[in-house]
């Protein structure tokens, strides 16, 4: 165990994280950057709460946005009540309302959901998600119908002259809550209950024989996860100042699954990476291309097929190599793999963008510009180039992949031997 992962090393990491979150707006100070970082803040909390279910307890849920959304709705209603009655409650306390709402609904729905595990649990969560989403048009008082519930974050008690009107103040609120929730969720993984969740994930039958009720463990994990999802929803309600029924639907549920899985479900830091990456993609990539959701879907399928531990896993599996100093061994093989991956990526992007231009933007004519090159979208030369790039990329990657795999395994083996010696 390196010093970073034990004892005082822990506190260093958390202090660094706090400092980084505090300093970031000074580095990226434009309004758009601060907004994006606020979005990343509660996306991190949401993705981490989802990973409590998927990565730690092995429960795949397709309806987690229910607790996020219901937390958001309760926070919005509470903000309206506080604002109308001029109650002396400051804004930083309000996400707690969302958390408690998420906990409440997780207790109700979780009791039904956690009776089954595996695929049946996934289907139940999907059903409950659709149930709540469909209820949004029936219960118009709570969900506000099509218009949703609007609220104002400046109507609460102002303390120290902070009104939370400017985005930078909201960012620091979200960052503080994000840090607290991250620390709490990490602490949960180190408790005996957190370890039992892992045990239930790995071998439920054995956990039962040891004496724990797997249903109870899953239920408690579900409730705690619902609490943090509700906190994330509350933060989102404060940020956007409006909550609509789409926030409990299948789209955010699918998105948080993508965030957590692409980041990596096996490590605590995975969903953080996934949330940051996906939020950045959602905001920036959609400016460059109309097919950004297709890229996200393709990336997800590639991760599922070839990198089931996610991007975080890909990075963290090199940690033993770094610790033992054998990482130099893999560099030549990785350098070999750069060209095929580049060919495949460029070819793939060209294919998607050219097709997108031909089909969706047909009215703009066939002229387009990509990677600093002007060309006609329907020219045979362009399409031959795309096909050649893709074929060459696939062929060369197939040749290079075994070398990369061998190099990595060799380096890992040597790292293990060095540590044992």
């Amino acid at each position: 165990m390196s010093t970073l992962a034990s004892g005082r090393g822990h506190y260093v990491v958390w202090a660094v994280a706090a400092i980084v979150m505090g300093v970031l707006p000074l580095v990226f100070s434009s309004g758009a950057s601060v907004t994006m970082m606020s979005l990343m803040g509660f996306a991190i909390v949401f993705a981490l709460s989802y990973n409590m279910l998927l990565g730690q307890t092995g429960m795949l849920s397709f309806g987690h946005a229910v607790y996020y959304g219901l937390g958001g709705f309760m926070t919005a209603h509470a903000l309206n009540v506080v604002g109308a009655g001029k109650l002396p409650i400051p804004l930083p306390v309000m996400p707690l309302v969302g958390g408690l709402a998420g906990l409440f609904f997780a207790v109700i729905f979780g009791w039904v959901s956690t009776k089954r595990a595996g695929t049946a649990f996934a289907m139940i969560s999907l059903g409950i998600g659709e149930l709540v989403a469909a209820c949004s048009l029936i219960l118009r008082g709570f969900f506000g119908g099509e218009g949703g519930i609007s609220t104002s974050r400046t109507a609460t008690l102002k303390m120290f002259g902070i009104s939370f009107g400017p985005q930078i103040q909201v960012y620091y609120l979200i960052a503080a809550w994000c840090l607290i929730c991250m620390a709490a969720m990490y602490a949960f993984t180190r408790t005996p209950l957190g370890r039992m969740c892992n045990a239930v994930r790995d071998n439920p039958e054995r956990a039962e024989f040891v004496g724990y009720s797997t249903q109870m463990v899953r239920f408690i994990a579900f409730c705690v996860s619902g609490f943090f999802a509700g906190v994330a929803g509350g933060l989102a309600a404060i940020h956007y100042e409006i909550v609509t029924a789409s926030v409990v639907g299948a789209v955010p549920s699918g998105f948080v699954l993508l965030m957590a899985y692409i980041g990596g479900i096996a490590f605590f830091i995975g969903p953080i990476i996934g949330a940051v990456l996906m939020t950045a993609l959602q905001i920036s990539l959609s400016d460059y291309t109309g097919a950004w959701l297709l890229y996200v879907g393709l990336m997800f399928v590639v991760v599922v097929m070839y990198a089931p531990w996610g991007l975080g896993g890909l990075l963290l599996m090199h940690q033993p190599l770094l610790a033992a100093g054998t990482w130099r061994r893999v560099l030549p093989a990785y350098a070999l793999a750069v060209a095929p991956v580049l060919m495949l990526t460029v070819g793939g992007v060209l294919l998607v963008e050219t097709s997108h231009h031909l089909m969706v933007k047909a009215t703009e004519g066939p002229a387009m510009r990509l990677f600093w090159v002007d060309y006609q979208a329907n020219s045979p030369i362009a399409w031959t180039a795309i096909v050649l790039l893709l074929v060459a990329g696939v062929w060369s990657l197939r040749r290079v992949a075994p070398k990369v795999s061998d190099a990595f395994h060799g380096a890992a083996q040597e790292a293990r031997q060095r540590r044992a010696a």
């Binding site: 695929t119 049946a120 059903g127 659709e130 879907g297 399928v301 599922v304």
Partner: protein, 316 residues
């Protein structure tokens, strides 16, 4: 009243048979490979869109044969090159792979055919009313849909119970390794079943496309109800899927036709409730408004009281 009952029964049977066309493929795939194909409704949507594209070139009838075959081939390729790679990572990874596939198919369909519904027309030969009952006409195309569904159901039943291939498939459903030890090409059987399942879904899309709207949201609207059917019927049970799909089809169709709310019932008993009373929204909601959530309520009830489903024998 009788008119309502007869037409609702006909429409309910139709919707139920359509759901069964989809649920049968899904149940077969799940029984055999243990993977719940999240992209099944997406193959249904692909079938409708392929049928639409073919109908624009050569007409509706060739699409009835070509589209299911095309989508079946695509499904077989997905199984061979996609699912088999993911199989070693476990059931969760397979489910997530099909989820990602559903995502990608929806994006591709939106890119190729646009986000607005397409004009998939009922063929001229069937564009008349079959019969008139109580001054309401019933379209012949719907009778055609019902006939095709029943024919496919009978064909599937005969295939599974009376042919050699069906025998091997049914054996591979419960004992795949033994069937492999006896010399049959089990991976090929898996590929075949996946392809045929997707082809059935595409056939459902081709016949439902002109009647229901052909749009990119059709997969997302039918997908969850499909899973409700499969779970309520019992994961892995084909007769269960049949009963559950008819049940849900009939319940939803009858529910949409009833414009009664709890407030009306209470008014009959002399109690007046309005939207402003406590829980006002719940009293004023009519059965027709609640109809979309009835399948999910059924799912929750079945899962509380009979977790294996109506006729399930498999525990997941």
């Amino acid at each position: 009243m009788l008119e309502l009952i007869i037409f609702s029964t006909l429409n309910g049977l139709l919707y139920g048979m359509l759901l069964f066309l989809l649920a049968s493929g899904l149940t077969l795939i799940f029984s055999m490979m243990g993977v719940l194909n999240f992209a099944h409704a997406s193959f249904y949507m692909l079938g409708a869109y392929f049928g639409y594209q073919i109908s624009r070139f050569v007409g509706y009838w060739p699409g009835l044969v070509v589209a299911p075959v095309l989508v079946g081939v695509i499904g077989a390729l997905v199984e061979r090159y996609g699912l088999r790679t993911v199989h070693k990572h476990g059931h969760v990874a397979e489910l997530l792979f099909t989820f990602g596939l559903a995502f990608i198919i929806e994006e591709l369909v939106q890119m190729i055919w646009g986000k607005v519904p397409v004009d998939y027309r009922i063929p001229e030969a069937l564009n008349f009313s079959a019969f008139t009952l109580f001054a309401t006409t019933y379209p012949a195309f719907r009778m055609f849909m019902l006939l095709v569904s029943v024919a496919v159901f009978i064909g599937l039943l005969l295939l599974l119970t009376r042919t050699r291939v069906g025998l091997i498939i049914r054996a591979a459903l419960t004992h795949p390794s033994m069937v492999g030890a006896l010399g049959h090409n089990v991976p090929l059987v898996f590929m075949l079943v996946f392809g045929v399942g997707c082809g059935l879904a595409a056939l459902a899309g081709v016949i439902a496309g002109p009647a229901l709207v052909t749009q990119p949201a059709m997969a997302a609207s039918l997908g969850p109800i499909l899973f409700v059917v499969v779970v309520v019927g019992g994961l892995g049970s084909l007769p269960g899927a049949f009963i559950a799909s008819l049940l849900i089809g009939l319940i939803q169709t009858f529910a949409v036709a009833l414009n009664v709310s709890l407030a009306d019932v209470l008014a009959r008993l002399g109690v007046t409730v309005t939207r402003d009373s406590v829980g006002g929204d719940l009293w004023m909601a009519t059965v027709a408004q609640v109809a979309p959530i009835i399948p999910y309520l059924l799912l929750v009830l079945v899962l509380i009281f009979r977790p294996k489903g109506l006729m399930g024998d498999r525990d997941t």
